[in-house]
Amino acid sequence: MLHSIQANGKKATREGFGDGLLEIGRQNPDIVALCADLTGSLKMHKFAEAFPERFFQAGISEANMMGIAAGLATGGKIPYTGTFANFSTGRVYDQLRQSIAYSHKNVKVCASHAGLTLGEDGATHQILEDVGLAKMLPGFTVINPCDYNQTKAATLAIAEHQGPVYLRFGRPGWPVFTPEDQPFEIGKAVLLAEGSDVSLFATGHMVWQAVEAAKNLAGEGISVELLNIHTIKPLDEEAVLESARKTGAVVTAEEHQRYGGLGDSIAQLLARRLPRPQEYVAVNDRFGESGKPLDLLNKYGLGVADIEAAVRSVLQRRATSHSTH
């Protein structure tokens, strides 16, 4: 299963969002879109050109954009807001909280340029806290798809979901390895490879890193079970527990702070239901910096080799805990 996962070129996840938005706009006349002066970056120009009357340029005023989206949702529309992840969460947190989450508004907060792989713009824009911020809001669904095809599928799927969604994606060209026109089920983990030694739960861009790590580890005789956790909230608890029960060792991988991200959601679940040793591949309480995406992932502990090291480490811990019993 693992060796059959192959990249079919590279494409940015934000392109998947732009193409998905155009397609859902064609399918559903209630879809409207708003953008805060980043139409090109978010690839929203296709929607804007096809449906000018349903597209609202908000200028550089993200707080206002979120409020207007809440109002459009109140009137029965399905608004998709587009700006960088940084400006989709931290900058507008009170608007997300009061006007959207607490008010149960059906707004799709679509956030590009998340994480270190934003690259050269540096730490001001490389938000690594957005998943934590979004998932703490009651009622918010949090989705971080892994490649172009999956981002496009998620962009379509969230229109069918009644309630606020945080859809996170990124800037760089990234390997495309999931099927075209795939079904996307919110809250349902995707088993990419069965394995027996360790459960590797990855989200977003880190899923491809995890694929590469799992292939390398297979060469060492380590059998990795790899799950793509595209929906961080609600977490597919049964899939996580089933895999963790089987392997007894867990590694999580995400382009986010260690505090508050996917790893914490899984650790919380395991602590409640099935305590098992876990290693985090995540940014450890630091800000990023300017640089090339892959160089940054490597520098901040999110490289393929870091995932492999985390797997070896958790296997060692599991062996130690077994021997002390």
């Binding site: 707080a63 207007i68 109002g71 459009l72 109140t74």
Partner: protein, 286 residues
């Protein structure tokens, strides 16, 4: 058109409702609520075409967003007296298990409320979004909104003001409660608002002014403002009010912004307000 005297009677009862709600809760914001009682009354009993058989989307009717959510007691009173929910529910204001939250919310399903407000500066944007949805649906009705004047210190208000003009949101009628007071003192001491009419005009809005505590002026100005809609610009009414209007010892002072009357002032306040429609039913006081 309802007779002015009838509207004044309703406003007097709304003021009694405000005193009773904040007294029973021993909590809440009577000052701004009293100041806006005439506006709320004119809006719900004369100006707006609205249906108390509430539906969230507000299709085919006028809708109202209260951006300065802390003056909820005044709004709750006109909603209840318009038939959105039973009058006796006013006695649950700010109490546990109530739909009448301290600041308006949709979460408990209170009819009449379309978005949570309280954290200031957000309601104007939501009102604009609602106005855009009406435009997309070909619905000719109006979106009304009220903001505080201290609330204009929030940057989001001016983001929304710019958006409203740029996108020619001309089915939107905003009123600013210009009482010159905020929690920490008079606005000119806390954070001067400057020349408000000039500011709104510079942002591309039609600007009207009125005395919000003079019922004929309120009704007249709101209807004149409605006539200006559809002209490519959003409309704002800068409404001069007296915080605490109707109760002499509450008037004009920020001290009662967020302080409810206790027993002695409560009875002094009620003594100044005619019970015109009957106070809302209350559980027996212990």
């Amino acid at each position: 058109m309802a007779e002015i005297s009838k509207l004044k009677d309703i406003a007097s009862q709304v003021r009694r409702d405000i005193i009773w709600q904040t007294f029973l809760a021993q909590s809440g914001h009577p000052g701004g609520s009293l100041g806006c009682a005439d506006f709320f009354t004119a809006l719900y009993f004369e100006v707006m075409k609205h249906d108390p058989a509430f539906q969230m989307e507000g299709k085919g009717e006028d809708v109202f967003i209260l951006s300065n959510g802390h003056i909820s007691p005044g709004w709750y009173s006109v909603l209840a007296r318009s038939g959105y929910f039973p009058l006796e529910e006013l006695a649950t204001f700010r109490k546990i298990n109530s739909r009448l939250q301290g600041h308006p919310a949709t979460h408990e399903g209170l009819p009449g409320v379309r978005v949570a407000t309280g954290s200031l500066g957000q309601g104007l944007s939501v009102a604009i979004g609602l106005a855009l949805s009406k435009r997309l649906q070909g619905d000719q009705h109006t979106v009304f909104a009220l903001t505080g004047d201290g609330e204009l210190q929030e940057g989001q208000i001016w983001e929304a003001a710019m958006f409203g003009a740029h996108h020619q949101v001309d089915n939107l009628l905003v009123t600013v409660d210009w009482n010159g007071q905020q929690i920490d003192g008079p606005t000119h001491e806390v954070m001067a608002l400057g020349d408000l009419p000039a500011k709104w005009r510079a942002f591309g809005w039609e600007v009207l002014e009125m005395n919000g505590n003079d019922m004929p002026a309120v009704v007249d100005t709101l209807s004149r403002a409605k006539e200006r809609l559809g002209g490519g610009k959003p409309v704002v009414i800068l409404m001069r009010t007296e915080m605490g209007f109707g109760v002499d010892f509450l008037e004009g002072s920020h001290k009662w912004h967020g302080v409810p009357p206790n027993e002695e002032p409560q009875y002094r306040a009620l003594a100044q307000l005619t019970e015109t429609l009957g106070d809302f039913p209350r559980p027996a006081l212990s």
